[in-house]
Amino acid sequence: MDQLKRSQHHDSFVTGIIKENPLFVAVLGTCPALAITTSFEAAFGMGLLFTFVLVCSNVLISALRKLIPEEVETPAYIVVIATFVTVVKMLCQAYIPNLYTSLGVFLSLLVVNCIVLGRAEAFASKNGVFDSFLDGLGNGIGYTLALVVISLFREIIGTGKLTFGNIFTFLQRDGRAVSLSVFKGEGWDYSIPLFAQPAGGFIVFGLIMAVLAAIHNSKKDKEAAAKRAAAFAAAQKAAEEKAAMPAASKTEGGAR
């Protein structure tokens, strides 16, 4: 019983990270994934705030799930989520003002993020508080991971370097942002500015989705091939047995 419960906790935490990644597998929450991924720091900050909102709303909705009547479910969820987004907005404006300005309207748009509402309806309204907490945490980490992957490609190719300290000011050295050059240096520049533009977001996201689809397809092909081989082997064995049978009966007949 205890084992079963623990494995359920484990499942609700882990599935959201890779297997059912909200961005790459379920293709939800695409608006911020394209808009704020021009810099690594903004994407990471967005992921953190998103995780906070998702965990809080999941926990509260799960705690209230027996009190909310079914007819007003969605409006009630939206109000809960909007409240937490307002809290996050005010905290972010007060303590990380650079993140607040670089996320802009997309911080408010967390209210209508399909993932937050989707987890509330699909998971938190049916499961216990602790499981909902873990589900929120897992999905938040999965979404953060996806945002960070897209933003790394876009920032490194688009600006030629990776910059720390513009948003999280405690990373600065001697009052200046630290940058790590990759495609750009003294007198040479192989960056492609298009990737920092909206079009680059679509390209990176589309290519990542295609690579994931290719991996998924090859896995499926391998499984299908293995199944076919097994079926073929079984058929061959059956045929051999069939071929052996009449021979046996024939010899029997000959003896008679």
């Binding site: 293709v27 394209l34 939206i78 909007a82 290519l207 295609a210």
Partner: protein, 197 residues
């Protein structure tokens, strides 16, 4: 005087419709764009419903913010109020369409309640507040954004019906090729940068 306002309004309208296109450069409502897929008819009816909802929510939210929330010192509650206004507006539009055009109501189906969670609606209203736009420009933003949404969702539905018949590489089938197409369209829109400014 009136003429100069009119010209400014028209320029803002063009800029919000094409250059700062809602789907291609501001990225509001990408979810619905991917979700609607390749059915041209449902894409257009959804687009028209979104035009209505964005226009009226911008019209209602502007006075609510400037004449109720700000004097009452509740400006930080804007997002919560806006989402409630939008949710009730979607309900009202749904009832209205159901009464006067049951056929359209049937064809919209599941898409109608989903407009509440369409980022484009809240995005426009919030942007009007955050950028502190005047009433005229707020309405230009609402009209331009929603018309741009209608245009793009129609164009993309048409492109995706064609894409389905072509022999795209297997890994790119469906969403990846749609995103790459969107990238090419976004590059085309980049060529128009600077017209409205």
């Amino acid at each position: 005087m009136f003429y100069s306002y009119f010209v400014a309004f028209l320029l803002a309208l063009v800029s919000y419709t094409l250059i700062d296109n809602v789907l291609l450069s501001r990225f509001y409502g990408i979810c619905s764009f991917i979700g609607v897929g390749n059915k041209v008819k449902s894409a257009v009816s959804m687009g028209i419903a979104v035009v209505f909802v964005i226009f009226f929510s911008a019209l209602i939210c502007y006075p609510i913010y400037h004449y109720v929330l700000v004097p009452a010192g509740l400006a930080m509650m804007d997002t919560v109020v806006y989402i409630l206004v939008i949710a009730s507006l979607v309900q009202i539009v749904g009832l209205f369409i159901k009464k006067y055009s049951p056929a359209l109501y049937k064809s919209l189906g599941i898409y109608l309640p989903l407009i509440t969670t369409n980022c484009a609606v809240l995005g426009v209203v919030q942007e009007n507040t955050d950028a502190n736009l005047s009433f005229l420009f707020s309405m230009a933003n609402a009209l331009g954004t929603s018309l741009g949404y209608l245009l793009m969702i129609f164009v993309f539905a048409c492109i995706r019906t064609r894409l389905d018949t072509y022999n795209t590489p297997r890994a790119f089938k469906g969403i990846p090729i749609a995103l790459i197409t969107a990238a090419i369209m976004a590059m085309a829109m980049m060529g128009l940068t600077g017209i409205g400014k």
